[in-house]
Subunit: 396 residues, 2 copies
């Protein structure tokens, strides 16, 4: 399906420019279900939460919502009491414009922190936003939630769940501040599956654990991270309950959709020149493998070596040496771009071949600790000049 | 004292080029006491330790050593059994060249990981290294331990401890891979104070806690980090024992010497354009303040904003929000370059003034959590293009 043709039964989406972004680019999105729907969400673990996150977390607990209004260009975070009042005002105005009930909608914001939201501009644009709602409006919405993203991120998965064909459409934004615990990253998914809030939440948690929680660009977490999935049951079919084959099937479809978006976020990692798949295996257990993998993905020295295409396994050893991960350095194997550069604790002399294999857009890093069966894979980027350029001049 | 005039009673130092560095620069240093001396050391906490660190840790436990031979250009880490054999061979050859007893010397190495050490070149150069030993050889030694350092780091503190004037000379290297738990950083200090190993170790631990453990460039820790202090008692005077005023006085002098070197390492932070003093105060306790300060010093987004001179306090709030540090965001004050940009949880509108204050070589960041009396200060750098350049092309 081409991105402009993506549709989910009973869902409408739109995306327009309302003037928050000085560039005149799209900055206001709306996703709604034509009928009552269930919702499940996952939110930033930061103790500094944007007002939208505080409101959404409360509304998500009811398990019911008809959709979400999203602005980009301003995160409305650290804006004090005024920020919260602004959030509630925008939500109420949007609900009114759509003739929804109070409490039907949620809201997300992304962009600069600490600047008051231009509520007037949003309110003025609401009739146009509602007017632009259409079943194939997902691409517009995906463009309207972008900040430093180089491209919009959208996907659609269709899958037979039992005898019912179910559709999941999902959009995401994020290119920087991406880290394991859900970073400035927004993702909105909608499905016509017949699934209630509790099961939907279980499916979402599993899907996020396999996707967004396994990507890392710069180890920073934002105040606004949110993943919401709405389900309106428009595909009909029997209810999808936890513990069934149908639930497994639905969760796999949702995981696939979110993993595709997660990979797109890494590929769009601010200034990233390489898409890096990083695997630690042979650890005592999965948790130890995860600790080592996350440490490697967070090491500036490892990430700059990846940019340079330098098969500097020494930095990998040094980085995992700073963790509590158990291994004997004389056992370890390291493969870079598929080339074994370090074998049983010593250099293999394959540096030139590895350097060649690393100078590609996609690079794999495999560390085998030779201690047990624990393994963990995550996806990350290199660290390069563009990352510095983008992040040192973000607001200027 | 000019660096080439620095001397400590009874100590000799030298630094020469032996051919490990392809550039022909100095790469071999030696520091020895003319008489038996006490030693105390602090070493990397990495589980991946260079063979020199393993040997030194063992010898340091005896509390006695006459000095240390140091090579730069090669870390002799992750070099397997051969690496350990090479270390023992170099130490033995140096002891022999000086007619010392077996076990009298220690060794440090710094440079590239994973490459076998050119032991032949070192052995060939040992007579010349010994011949060059002189009481004012500290500057040569400080130059011979450099790797990516832009300048050599040397200091000298003279202080009256009781009625005895005591001298401490110290040299250090380090510009990258610097982080709280002692990173690719070597420091060698020598004093003529009359202090035995146990008290010397206590003084060293306190001094390191106030200096090297409070600097951070990129949060990476190396396999070779070592701080050694030798004391030969040549200043005479009564023995300095723990718990006395003399001990306090000596520890203050040692702390001052190490803090000067620590600040020089930050100023030489790979590609650093700013020297940043980062203070978190008003925390529930010092430990919480330290957690917040270390998180800020490790945040790529905070560090790139410091490079850009962008008073982006939002990134500071976002970063401390990811920690377990307790605070109420509506209490927090943030000062950048002395300008209050965030007051009781809201923007003060002083952005332009702060941006101007941040575009200096020295920038202070103060975060007041307004919760208690806990405080912690550390020193760090910005993150910029040169950091990426240096670290993506280190070996090529």
């Amino acid at each position: 399906v081409r991105s402009k043709d993506i549709q989910v039964n009973g869902f409408l989406a739109s995306g327009i420019a309302c003037g928050i972004k000085k560039t005149g680019k799209k900055d206001l999105a709306l996703i709604v279900s034509e009928t009552p729907a269930y919702v499940a969400g996952v939110f930033t673990k930061s103790t500094v939460k944007a007002s939208t996150v505080v409101v959404d977390m409360k509304r998500e607990r009811s398990g019911r919502s008809r959709g979400v209004v999203v602005n980009s260009g301003n995160a409305n975070a650290c804006t004090g009491e005024r920020g919260m009042a602004d959030t509630l005002r925008v939500i109420a105005a949007t609900e009114k414009a759509l003739a929804f009930n109070e409490g039907d909608l949620m809201m997300s914001s992304t962009g600069v922190i600490g600047v008051p939201l231009a509520v007037g501009k949003i309110e003025e644009a609401l009739p146009r936003l509602a007017w632009n709602l259409k079943s194939n409006g997902w691409r517009d919405a995906s463009q309207a939630i972008m900040t430093t993203d180089a491209f919009h991120k959208i996907t659609c998965v269709k899958k037979n769940v039992g005898r019912t064909q179910v559709t999941i459409a999902a959009i995401a934004k994020g290119a920087g501040m991406i880290c394991p615990n859900m970073a400035t990253m927004l993702c909105f998914a909608a499905t016509d599956a017949n699934i209630k809030a509790k099961a939907l939440k279980a499916a979402l948690k599993e899907a996020v654990g396999k996707s967004f929680n396994r990507i890392s660009v710069d180890n920073d977490t934002s105040t606004n991270d949110t993943v919401l999935v709405f389900a309106n049951g428009a595909a009909k079919g029997p209810e999808i309950k936890t513990g069934t084959a149908a639930f497994k099937s639905f969760t796999a479809a949702l995981s696939e959709a979110l993993l595709r978006l997660a990979h797109l976020i890494v590929r769009d990692g601010e200034g990233a020149t390489r898409f890096v798949e990083l695997t630690v295996k042979g650890a005592s257990n999965d948790k130890q493998a995860e600790t080592a993998a996350r440490r490697l993905a967070g090491s500036l020295l490892v990430k700059t070596a990846l940019f340079g295409g330098d098969p500097n396994w020494g930095r990998i050893m040094a980085a995992i040496g700073t963790t509590n991960v158990k291994f004997d350095q004389s056992d370890v194997d390291i493969l870079l771009g598929g080339v074994k550069v370090f074998s049983k604790g010593v250099d293999t002399g394959e540096e030139k071949r590895a350097a060649k294999a690393m100078k590609r857009n996609e690079v794999s890093v495999v560390v085998d600790l030779k201690r047990g069966k624990g393994a963990f894979t995550l996806w990350t980027t290199d660290l390069n000049y563009d990352y510095v350029r983008i992040n040192s001049s973000y607001r200027t």
